[in-house]
Point group: C2
Chain length 446, copies 2
C-alpha cells in the first residue's frame, strides 16, 4: 500500500460516520423549516461546504445555509437567522462573519447554521457568504467520483504542513481552493508535480473569461466570480512553504507530511544553552490574550509584531526573527542582532551649503545632549548626541503602551504586560514556543 492509500484509509470518514452525518443533516433541515414556520418566515435550508460535496475529512463541520428571500430586510435576516439556529442546535455560540451566525452541535456533531440571501445569479454583487452556495454547486457539477479522495488527500497534506484554512490565524488554503486545484490538475500527485515549480505570480484560470488583475503570489480565478482571487488569503510565506513542501514530497514522499509528529518541547537547560550558543538577545512581550474573534486577534497580532519590529528598526535595533504565540496568553518574541547601542550616536544634518545648515548648527551648538560637534564630515554637518534609548528593552518599555497595535491588543496590554529578556523567558510555560522559535523546522521535520 502506498503512502497516499495509507493516508486515505486514515482520513476517510467511515460508513458509520457518514450515516450519522446524513441523519444530522436531515434533522437540521427539518428543524430549520419547522422553526421558521413558527416564526412565520419563509426560508430554504441548503447543505453546503465539504459535506455537500462529499469532500470532507473525518469529523467535519456540517454547514447548513438558511436562504432568505432577497426582499428580506437585513436586520430581519440577522435576527431570524440567529433565532432559527439557536432553536435547532443542542448547544451553540454566536459567531460573526458578514452576518451573525450560529455554531454549535447536534447529536454531538459540529454544525454551523448561516443565514444568507438567496441569489439567483452569481453575477449579482454579493458577499463571500452569499457566494458559498454557488461554490458548492460549481464543485458538485464539475467533480467526478475520483476527484473526491484526491481533494481529501490535498486537504490533509495542507493540514499536516500547517497551512490548511484561509482564516487569519493560518493564512493558508481554503477548502474551496483545494477543490479547485484538484479540478484543475486532476489529482493530488499532479498538484504536487506542478506546484513544486510554481513561481510568484502564478495564475490559474478555468476558462478564457476576462478576469481581474491581482498581485498576490498565487492567483486562482474564482470560476463563479472572475473578479475574485480564491487564493487571496494565502500569505507569501505560506505560498513559498507549499512550493517547498511539494518539492520535498515529490523527492521523498513520507507519511509525516500528512501526519506530523507533535512538537516536543525542549527542556529548560537545553533552551538556555541554545540561547547562549546563539549569542543573541531574545525579548518577549507577554500579556493576556484579548477576547475577540480569532480572525481579528490573529490579524492584529501579526500587525502588532510588525509595528514593534519597525520601531526597533527605526531606533537602530536590528531584528533577526519575530513570532507570536497564543493560548490564554500572548507571547511575542523578538530575536535581536543588535540589542544595545552606545550612549551616543552620530546624527546627520544638512550639507554645509544647504539653507538649513545654519539652523542645524544653531540648534546643536550648545545643546545639553551633545557629546561632540557639530562637525563637518564629507561636506555634511553631523553632531554626536546622546542616544534616546541605548537598548531595545528600554525602547519597547517606553513605546509599548503608546503604539497603535490594534484596539484589542492595546486594551489587553493596558491590563498588564511583562517584558522578559533571555533567561527570564526560559520557563516551563514558554518551552514549546521557544522550541519552535529557535529550531525553525518545518512541521514534517519535528
Amino acid at each position: 500500500m502506498d503512502i497516499e492509500e495509507e493516508v486515505l484509509v486514515r482520513i476517510m470518514p467511515g460508513a458509520d460516520e457518514n450515516k450519522r452525518i446524513a441523519e444530522v443533516v436531515e434533522k437540521v433541515k427539518v428543524n430549520i423549516l419547522e422553526s421558521a414556520g413558527t416564526l412565520g418566515v419563509e426560508v430554504e435550508p441548503l447543505l453546503v461546504g465539504s459535506v455537500a460535496k462529499d469532500t470532507h475529512l473525518s469529523n467535519p463541520d456540517i454547514d447548513i445555509f438558511v436562504l432568505f428571500p432577497p426582499s428580506t430586510r437585513r436586520d430581519e435576516l440577522e435576527r431570524y437567522g440567529l433565532d432559527i439556529g439557536k432553536a435547532v442546535l443542542d448547544d451553540f455560540e454566536e459567531r460573526y462573519a458578514e452576518h451573525p451566525y450560529v455554531r454549535g452541535t447536534l447529536d454531538e456533531l459540529s454544525v454551523e447554521i448561516v443565514p444568507c440571501f438567496r441569489i439567483e445569479d452569481p453575477s449579482q454583487r454579493m458577499s463571500a457568504v452569499d457566494r458559498t452556495p454557488f461554490h458548492t454547486a460549481y464543485v458538485i457539477n464539475h467533480q467526478n467520483e475520483g476527484h473526491k479522495d484526491q481533494i481529501r488527500l490535498l486537504k490533509q497534506f495542507l493540514k499536516g504542513i500547517g497551512i490548511y484554512g484561509a482564516e487569519a490565524e493560518v493564512e493558508g488554503f481554503s477548502g474551496y481552493l483545494c477543490e479547485l486545484l484538484i479540478l484543475y490538475y486532476g489529482n493530488f500527485r499532479n498538484v504536487v508535480l506542478n506546484a513544486k515549480d510554481w513561481k510568484k505570480g502564478t495564475v490559474i484560470a478555468f476558462n478564457e473569461m476576462a478576469h481581474g488583475e491581482f498581485n498576490e503570489s498565487l492567483v486562482v480565478i474564482d470560476p463563479v466570480d472572475p473578479g475574485r482571487n480564491v487564493a487571496s488569503a494565502l500569505s507569501e510565506e505560506n505560498f513559498a512553504l507549499f512550493i517547498h513542501a511539494c518539492m520535498e514530497y515529490h523527492d521523498n514522499p513520507k507519511l509525516e507530511f500528512f501526519f506530523p509528529g507533535d512538537i516536543v518541547p525542549e527542556n529548560l537547560e537545553d533552551l538556555r544553552q541554545k540561547l547562549e550558543e546563539r549569542g543573541t538577545c531574545v525579548l518577549g512581550i507577554s500579556f493576556p490574550a484579548p477576547k475577540t474573534l480569532s480572525d481579528i486577534l490573529h490579524s492584529q497580532l501579526r500587525k502588532a509584531v510588525r509595528a514593534i519590529g519597525k520601531v526597533c528598526h527605526m531606533y537602530g535595533f536590528g531584528i533577526i526573527g519575530s513570532m507570536y504565540f497564543v493560548d490564554r496568553g500572548v507571547l511575542m518574541l523578538f530575536e535581536f542582532e543588535i540589542f544595545s547601542l552606545p550612549t551616543i550616536k552620530s546624527h546627520k544634518g544638512p550639507p554645509v551649503w544647504h539653507p538649513n545648515a545654519f539652523d542645524f548648527r544653531e540648534k546643536w551648538i550648545a545643546h545639553e545632549k551633545v557629546s561632540s560637534g557639530p562637525y563637518i564630515k564629507n561636506g555634511n554637518w553631523y553632531v554626536d548626541i546622546e542616544r534616546e534609548f541605548t537598548n531595545a528593552k528600554e525602547l519597547i518599555e517606553a513605546k509599548l503602551t503608546s503604539l497603535n497595535l490594534g484596539r484589542h491588543i492595546n486594551q489587553s496590554i493596558m491590563e498588564g504586560y511583562g517584558i522578559l529578556v533571555n533567561d527570564e523567558l526560559v520557563q516551563e510555560r514558554f518551552a514549546p514556543w521557544l522550541t519552535v522559535f529557535f529550531n525553525k523546522k518545518f512541521r514534517w521535520e519535528y
Copy 2:
C-alpha cells in the same frame, strides 16, 4: 586697528627680512649660472612662487626654477638639475615631484631649486611643474599693489583654519588658488562674503573661453590652461569647512581664525572618562610611519582608513568616525557604533521559487555552522549560521595583513603593528590625537 590690519602686522615680512631674501635670490641665481657654466650647460634661473609675486608670508620658501632648453634630454635635465642645486645650496635633500629637485637652505633661508623645460607657449602640453612660470607671470601681470596684502590675509586665514596647501596631507588651497581668488573677488573680505554662499559645484572662470567640465566641489578654471581646475586638490570636506569658516568669520571676525591656539591634550583621566561617557568602542591600529614622500604617505593612509572602514561595514560593524595621525608612528582610529555582534547571523538566500533555491538548501541542510534552518521567511530562504567574526577587533586582526592598503603601508604593517581598544589607547603619546578625535572642534575653537 581692525583684526585684518593686526594680522597683516604680524604676518608681513619686515624690510630686513625682504632685504635678506632679495640677497639670497640674487646669490642663488648667480651661483646657478656659474655652476651651469662649469657643467657646460646653458640654463636660465627664474624666480617663481610667492616671493616672485611679492605675496609671500614671513619665512617663505624661495622657489627658483632652472629653465633648460626644450631640446634637453630628460635624463640630462634631471642629472644637471640635481647637480646644480646641490652645488648652490649650503645643505640640501633630494625631493621628487615630476622631476627630482633639491630643497635646502642658503644663508639660513629655505630654497627650492627645481629644473624644468623652458616652454614658450602655455597651450603646449606641459606638466604641472612646467606650468609654474606661467602662473607666476599671470599673477604678476594681473595684480596691483593692493592685491598683495589681501592675498597674504587669505593665505594666513587658510593656514589658521588648517587648509592651506594642495598637498595630500592637507587637500586644501594652493598659493596660486589664493592669488586667483583675490584677483577674482578683489579682496579678502569679498572672498569671505562670496565664499560663505558657495554651493557644491561653484565654478569660477576669468573669461569666456571654453573650458573643461569638472565635477569637483569647487572649480576654478586656470586662466593659463582652461583644461585644468586649480582647485582640483581641494577635498569636499575642506571645501565645506572653508564655507563654514567664512560664514563664521563673516558673523564674528576673530584673530583665532588666523592664529588658532595650540591643541592642549586632555589628561588621561579626562580621556578615559570621555570614552566611557560616549559608550562606544574605539579601536586604534598603530604601526611605524612608512618612510616615503609625504604626498604618497598621506594619500595611502587616507585610502587605507577607507578600505578598513569598508571591510568593517561589510561584516556588519558600524563606524561613527575614523581618522589617522602621523608622526614617527601612525595611529589609525576607528570609533564603532557596533563593535560586537551575536555568535549567529541570519544569512539570506534566494526565494523559494528561484532556480538556486534547491542548491541553497542542499548546501546548508546539514552544514556544521548552522544554528537553525534553512527556513522560509517572506518567501525567501534563510539560514542562521555561525558568524565569522563576532567583533571588529577579530575581523581586523584577521584581515589587516591581507588587505591592499598601499605598498608602503602594507610593508610597515608587516614590520609590526598593534591593535588597541578603548582604555589600551589612553596613553600619554596618543593624548593629543585622542583629544582631536573626540572633540571634533574646528581649529579656531581650540
